[in-house]
């Protein structure tokens, strides 16, 4: 399973290069990877359905309990199949959608990173690894929404999605750390066994709140729903893949995954039901209001995500069955409809549903696929969507309390979604044929394949539901309930209440569709979203933070290097110095007699050279004297047996002198710029720093070392790390992680210097 996750990351590194060299082959290679993963996971349905669980574990940072451990159970498998299967279709679609686009290699790379992270997320058993993959999906979503980075609306939508989901990401990390603390492990399989202890733990409420914030931001639940419609700035393949089929369901996945551990309490079930119900109603209403086909679909996705959340909150067996089936159904039809929306946009350049009509004659295959997907969305037999709707009503009718209110809410939502299905999948294709400005050459096969396959599957599963009932749905439900479940799905159950409700839904939906313009006006009139909604709150927060940053910058950042140095040094002397005096009092210097002649001489040279630096009449003198100071320091290192330090000191000093010589003749005339008073102040602070460092050194050498770390290094350097040079062994082996961080900082600093030197004066405000 490690290979299944890592292959995407590795491949994403190679793809931009491949795309530049062997363009045509790359299009097929990127489809091949998700497709082979899809085949692999499909073959695993049999053993998983038989009750097996596949797991593998690789040590990552075992000392802190972080491992790359993967577990494949029913729930993970359902997601893995969706991720890889829809992934394959989306990659295929992208090759047609972006034909001839120069950034296609980069696009493939981002999409592969996303696919791999999403697979990692649903397969991880270790919650910290899960968190890392979770953040990686947010990051790749950011890159993909902002793919067309030259448009400012794409950039701000990308930033909004990133900020909202990363608030959730931080909450998730905190929640998972607390969970690990409460359960004594970071492995989900372990936590499941500790559920009693976790539920009675004092961290239980904070854990629940934090996890819910994470899930609600990721899955665009109220009041965080606003980022998803804005994310429609992304190209159609991205909206299909991330923002309908997979990533936005990560929050649902998290709730489902953790409900055996955290579920059962009123705070968990109650909050999730209420938030889910609000989200599904708001989403459906806002979907009616929009006219942009992608935003309509986005709001209907928000609504369905609300339904899923709501069902998980109910938590009964029937509700979980409905949630799992609905998740599957929604992925099929919504991905199909998004791909169709992309085709319409790609071919006509229009996304406004009020201006689209009669496209069925221009793109008949697409129209057929859209119609079938739309019927599934509307929940008509014999499609998979109908089965889902029946399950949904079963769940609300059997709800432990307030079942009539819940059923009414679901009825209203579903009826609105029937109207939405009509608006997006029927409206653009019927009526008077549009005249397209450009000559139309037919939709490429790569692009129609996706919608056709997805719509076809919706129909096939509707007719033969037990293709997936036993193999996929049962094991997923079993994983959420943490007990085996055997589910039979059937298209028709005879004359039941559910059937009646479905009929009513459809009748209401059709009425709403026919009076859609009046409905749109009515919803717009009651729209408070733009004036008072959470989106407004988001922009206010963002503006507030920018204003605050500007204010404090104006106060603290004068722009004079001189003043910065003064503040930093004065604060250091004040804080460290007062502490030093408090703990050690005033130190007496002893042992003057131990100083040997050449030590004294070297020190004298340093002091003399320092005076020359300060008093020199030309800059060249100062530079040379600075070199003298550096080399004398090197000599001191040699005297005290630190050849490594001495060598580094020598070479660094040589470089410094070279660097100074390079800039020397570019600097302004060497003259006095400051008043005597300022010079005295600077001298005082310089002296204070000198005294402080001396004091610190004395204090550090006066106390006996608390830890035995240096002797450990000295003793084990050769035994464990096969090196006789302890300094080097510490750098590249014992403390290699630190060194890795340091060289990364070094690289970043170099980029900073480079951009300061090269890009100076090009920007408007630096």
């Amino acid at each position: 399973m490690l290979i299944a996750v890592v292959s995407g990351f590795v491949f994403s590194l190679a793809v931009p290069l491949l795309h530049r060299t062997v363009r045509n082959v790359t299009d097929w290679l990127v489809v091949l990877l998700p497709f082979s993963l899809f085949i692999y996971f499909s073959f695993l349905t049999q053993p998983i359905a038989a009750g097996g669980v596949l797991s593998s574990s690789h040590a990552w940072a075992p000392s802190v309990g972080v491992n790359l451990s993967f577990v494949l159970d029913g729930l993970s498998l359902l997601f893995a199949i969706l991720i890889s299967g829809i992934g394959a279709l989306v990659f295929l679609y992208s090759s047609g959608y972006f034909k001839g686009h120069s950034g296609l290699g980069r696009f493939y790379a981002y999409l592969l990173i996303f696919m791999a992270s999403m697979l990692g997320l649903v397969l991880s058993d270790n919650v910290i690894a899960l968190f890392i993959f979770w953040e990686l999906t947010s990051l790749s979503s950011y890159l993909l929404i902002g793919f067309d980075h030259e448009r400012s609306s794409a950039r701000s939508a990308a930033r909004q999605a990133l900020l909202v989901t990363s608030v959730g990401g931080l909450a998730l990390l905190a929640g998972l750390l607390l969970l690990g603390e409460a359960g004594g492990s970071f492995e989900l399989s372990q936590l499941l066994r500790e559920r009693e202890a976790i539920r009675s733990h004092r961290f239980y409420v904070p854990i629940v709140v934090l996890i819910m914030v994470a899930a609600f931001t990721k899955s665009a639940q109220f009041p965080f729903h606003f980022w998803l419609p804005n994310a429609m700035e992304a190209p159609a393949p991205v909206s299909t893949y991330l923002h309908s089929a997979t990533m936005v369901k990560a929050g649902i996945y998290l709730l489902a995954r953790l409900s055996p551990v955290l579920g059962g309490a009123r705070i968990w079930q109650g909050t999730i039901v209420v938030v889910g119900a609000i989200t599904m109603l708001i989403g459906a209403c806002l979907a009616i209001k929009e006219t942009d086909i992608k935003r309509i679909l986005a709001y209907s996705t928000v609504s369905i995500l609300g339904v899923l959340t709501f069902l998980l909150g109910l938590g009964t067996r029937a509700a979980v069955e409905a949630a799992v089936a609905y998740l599957f159904i929604h992925a099929l039809y919504k991905a199909g409809l998004f791909l169709v929306a992309g085709i319409i946009d790609h071919e006509t350049g229009i996304r406004d549903v009020t201006r689209l009509s009669g496209l069925a004659r221009i793109m008949p295959v697409t129209a057929l696929a859209a119609a079938v997907a739309g019927l599934s969305m509307a929940g008509l037999p014999p499609l998979f969507g109908f089965i889902g709707k029946e399950l949904l009503y079963t769940a609300t009718l059997q709800a432990p309390l307030a079942n009539s209110i819940l059923t009414a809410a679901v009825l209203l939502t579903s009826a609105l979604l029937v109207a939405v299905a009509g608006i997006v999948s029927l409206g653009p294709f019927i009526g008077r044929t549009m005249t397209l400005s450009e000559k139309h050459g037919g939709v490429p096969l790569t692009m129609t394949a996706g919608p056709v396959v997805l719509a076809g599957l919706g129909l096939l599963i509707g007719l033969l539901p037990n293709l997936v009932a036993g193999r996929i749905v049962s094991s997923a439900v079993g994983a959420v309930l943490a007990q085996p479940a055997a589910i039979k799905l059937a298209l028709l159950h005879g004359l039941t209440v559910q059937l009646g409700l479905s009929g009513l839904t459809f009748a209401l939906g059709v009425t709403a569709y026919l009076r859609r313009d009046a409905l749109r006006r009515a919803v717009s009139r009651f729209d408070l979203g733009t004036a008072l909604g959470p989106a407004k709150g988001y922009s206010l927060t963002l503006d507030g933070m920018t204003a605050l940053a500007r204010l404090q910058t104006r106060i603290l950042q004068s722009g004079h290097l001189h003043i910065y140095l003064f503040i930093i040094l004065a604060v250091t002397v004040g804080l460290v110095g007062s502490w030093l005096v408090r703990y050690y009092g005033l130190m007496r210097l002893e042992g003057w007699a131990d100083i040997r002649f050449y030590e004294f001489l070297t020190a004298l040279v340093i002091v003399a050279a320092t005076i020359v630096i300060v008093r020199a009449s030309s800059r060249l003198f100062s530079v040379v004297a600075l070199g003298v100071v550096g080399y004398s320091m090197g000599i001191i290192y040699i005297i005290f047996g630190a050849p490594d330090l001495a060598m580094t000191q020598f070479s660094i000093d040589t470089l410094t002198v070279i660097l100074l010589l390079l800039v020397l003749y570019r600097l302004p005339r060497y003259a006095r710029y400051s008043t005597t008073l300022e010079r005295l102040r600077d001298a005082a602070i310089a002296l204070a720093v000198g005294v402080l460092v001396t004091g610190l050194t004395l204090a550090a050498t006066a106390v006996p070392p608390i830890s035995q770390i240096s002797s450990y290094f000295a003793e084990n350097s050769y035994l464990l790390a096969k090196g006789r040079n302890v300094v080097n062994v510490i750098l590249v082996d014992f403390r290699a992680f630190d060194t890795l961080g340091e060289i990364t900082v070094l690289a970043v600093a170099a980029i900073g210097v480079y951009s300061l030197m090269k890009l100076r004066g090009n920007g408007s405000d630096g």
């Binding site: 690789h58 040590a59 990552w60 940072a61 075992p62 000392s63 050849p643 490594d644 060598m647 580094t648 070479s651 660094i652 040589t654 470089l655 070279i658 660097l659 010589l661 390079l662 800039v663 570019r666 790390a721 096969k722 090196g723 006789r724 040079n725 300094v727 080097n728 062994v729 750098l731 590249v732 082996d733 290699a736 992680f737 060194t739 890795l740 060289i743 990364t744 070094l746 690289a747 600093a749 170099a750 980029i751 210097v753 480079y754 030197m757 090269k758």
Partner: protein, 135 residues
Amino acid sequence: MTSLILSTATTYLLPLLLLLSVYLLLHGHDVPGGGFVGGVVAAAAFALYAIAHGVEEARRVLHTHPRTLIGLGLLTALLSGVIAFVSNEPFLKGLWTTVTLPVEWKLGTPTLFDVGVYLVVVGVTLMIIFSVAED
């Protein structure tokens, strides 16, 4: 800045200094030296060459842009950690093997890590020096 002595000297000094830097790099594990010092020495060699022959010429001798070295170095250091990782050991754990060339030579992932440090240091230093000198 054209000085015949300096330019003739650096032509011979450059390979010698580079040899010294590689020596420092490879022997750093047992005697004083290592990737950092080695990298600084190599960078100083190129800087000297740039002073004597001009930055254009130094860039030509280097063959590649310093930023490529930085990226390559970071990747190398990362790779040395990943090697341990794929052998089911913690990230960055040192793994050693002995290669018997004419002389016996121990080879390990820390050496590779040090090579990464070396490349980053050379790249960073030269990127700064070249851009300062060209400006």
